[in-house]
Symmetry: C2
Subunit: 349 residues, 2 copies
């Protein structure tokens, strides 16, 4: 039995999306049970559901709430109560709430693992191999030091091993050229650390990769600082959305092109399915003493269900233990020693 | 009369691409003349062309040559001789040769302008407004300081004013959130500098922008350090190429989908033209005492012709004077004072 704690109020649409997603998820996962967290009124719709336990919260963290508000003012928010459930037997928590707040509250309530200075956010992006590439960090940490990038590599390896069943997933360090001499001082030193960790058998280090390697599927995991990760994610989302809209515009420009669109529909649908970002929904917050997954705020029921499924897979495959084991190994090897002169972490919206 | 100096040997294809491009360019630009730089054998094909002056070089910088080789060993390369022509009356130089070498040789021969610590590379990316967004820096400078980002903003403003005829193009600072408190220390300080320059009337500063704003067309110019710029450019190229190939694959998967492709061809062609990156070929090297434009190494004749046209527009609209004026203004205002403790610049491939 895997128990998921669900913040039913999070995201742009709240229960109108999360509850149908939970229902569909329960049907396809007979050994899952859910803790549904929300206001009494919102949870009315789930009254009497099998394998579901309602837990009430009186407040909701909105998408615009600052970290400050989420942490200090809304102490009975559905987000916070849902995370708290990890201490009461839930194996993993899922929320579509705002990223900054979710990371801050998770970090406050759960604390980080020994050997992890900063938790990271890992997501997946589709690649040419019809698989996906895991990228981290995605916005939680700016001004990273080399040691942090090594920690991200270890955290990402544990994630991919757990969720995708690859024992030794390959790791690439995002850089502006494949040669080891490229990049900033931080990246060069990170490259040395990752190489040493690879030689010590702690990770499967491929070497430097470039932005286009994410989509080539050159490696399983791409590691970068949170600033670069956030920029590349938002750039990719913006480009994909623009291209999608351009296709739509061209196929609806004239009565004739609309007719063509009808004929081309099955092909266009296959293309759409192939790059459907909803299938890849569910980013992992890694490095905490508990498993938290973040759904896209604008997720629909199908997308939120995918996030639940990813969270379920991670919990079922003991992601938390794996992360702890891997981080422990690198700590023992003296590779992940916390850097001195740490800069206060920051969380992106 | 605008005189362009063309490195005919650069790029993946050399004269087989550059000479046809030059021919087409001359036809549509009756007041242009070209200095064609290459080996005697390679320039045979252009013998007797009107408005063309051949200048011989005995060596060629390959796409794999290091900066070291380009600078110190191949002293009679077509790239170097082409840049040198700027001192003999040419108004602008165009090369499809390797970026690192082109920047290094340009910098060595031309030197930077007063008030510019590091030259930048600016390119354009298509946006939703069916226009384009200028992005810099794209790989020449890692570990940028706030003062460098301000310089990039001023250089970019001069470029867009000259090439696109916008008197006061808007500038956005690439960040991980729109709020001024987001981002690394460098970005925050850069934001303050850019705001001050905006208030002083030196640039038209919009504020922070995010990765997706490049494609939204939120601002005319997006400023970032060379590491981030290189990552976002390569990520975008990789994603666009993957999506294009996916469309192709879906439309050729079965005999039926091939038939559908025939019917949909005019629509697909219009889409293809709309996002054709060849139309946007021609990146500017800014901040030097001379105008140099860089074509994509894999450019075909059409793409190389676009790079020639962009370079021509820049020279015709006195880009160099404009850059000098703008940089001079900000220097006088005490905004672009060179930072102390400068880190050695680095050039990306």
């Amino acid at each position: 039995m895997v128990r998921l704690s669900v913040d039913c109020m999070g995201g742009d649409h709240g229960v109108s999306i999360t509850l149908p997603a939970c229902q569909a998820f329960l049907q396809s996962h007979p050994d899952a049970e859910l803790v549904l967290v929300g206001t009494a009124a919102a949870l009315e719709g789930a009254r009497g559901w099998a394998r579901c336990t309602p837990v009430l919260a009186t407040e909701v963290v909105t998408m615009d709430d600052s970290v400050e508000v989420a942490l200090r003012r809304k102490r009975d928010s559905s987000m916070r109560v849902a995370i708290q459930q990890l201490k009461a037997g839930a194996h993993v928590c899922v929320s579509a709430g705002n990223t900054g707040a979710l990371m801050a509250v998770s970090r406050y309530l759960l604390k980080t693992l020994d050997g992890v200075d900063r938790p990271a956010i890992a997501t997946v992006m589709p690649n040419r191999l019809d698989g996906y590439t895991t990228v981290l960090d995605l916005g939680a940490n700016v001004d990273c030091q080399p040691e942090h990038l090594l920690q991200f590599a270890v955290l990402g390896s544990a994630l991919v091993a757990a969720v995708d069943g690859k024992a030794e997933p390959s790791v690439g360090l995002l850089n502006i050229g494949e040669e080891a001499i490229k990049g900033s001082e931080t990246i060069k030193r990170a490259g040395e650390l990752l190489r040493a960790a690879g030689e010590g058998g702690h990770i499967n280090f491929h070497g430097n990769v470039e932005g286009n390697d994410i989509f080539k599927g050159t490696v399983d995991i791409v590691v970068c600082d949170g600033f670069v990760g956030n920029v590349l994610l938002k750039t990719s989302e913006g480009l994909a959305s623009m291209l999608g809209d351009f296709i739509k515009q061209e196929f609806t420009r004239t009565p004739l092109s609309k007719l063509v669109a009808l004929v081309a529909m099955p092909v266009l649908q296959r293309f759409k399915h192939r790059v459907d970002h909803r299938r890849y929904n569910g980013a992992a917050l890694l490095g905490l003493r508990g498993l938290v997954f973040k759904s896209h705020g604008s997720a629909d029921a199908y997308a939120f269900e995918q996030a639940l499924a990813r969270a379920y897979d991670a919990a079922r495959n003991r992601l938390l233990d794996r992360v702890q084991d891997r981080i422990g190994d690198t700590l023992q090897a003296g590779l992940a020693a916390p850097p001195t002169g740490d800069i206060a972490p920051e969380t992106a919206a």
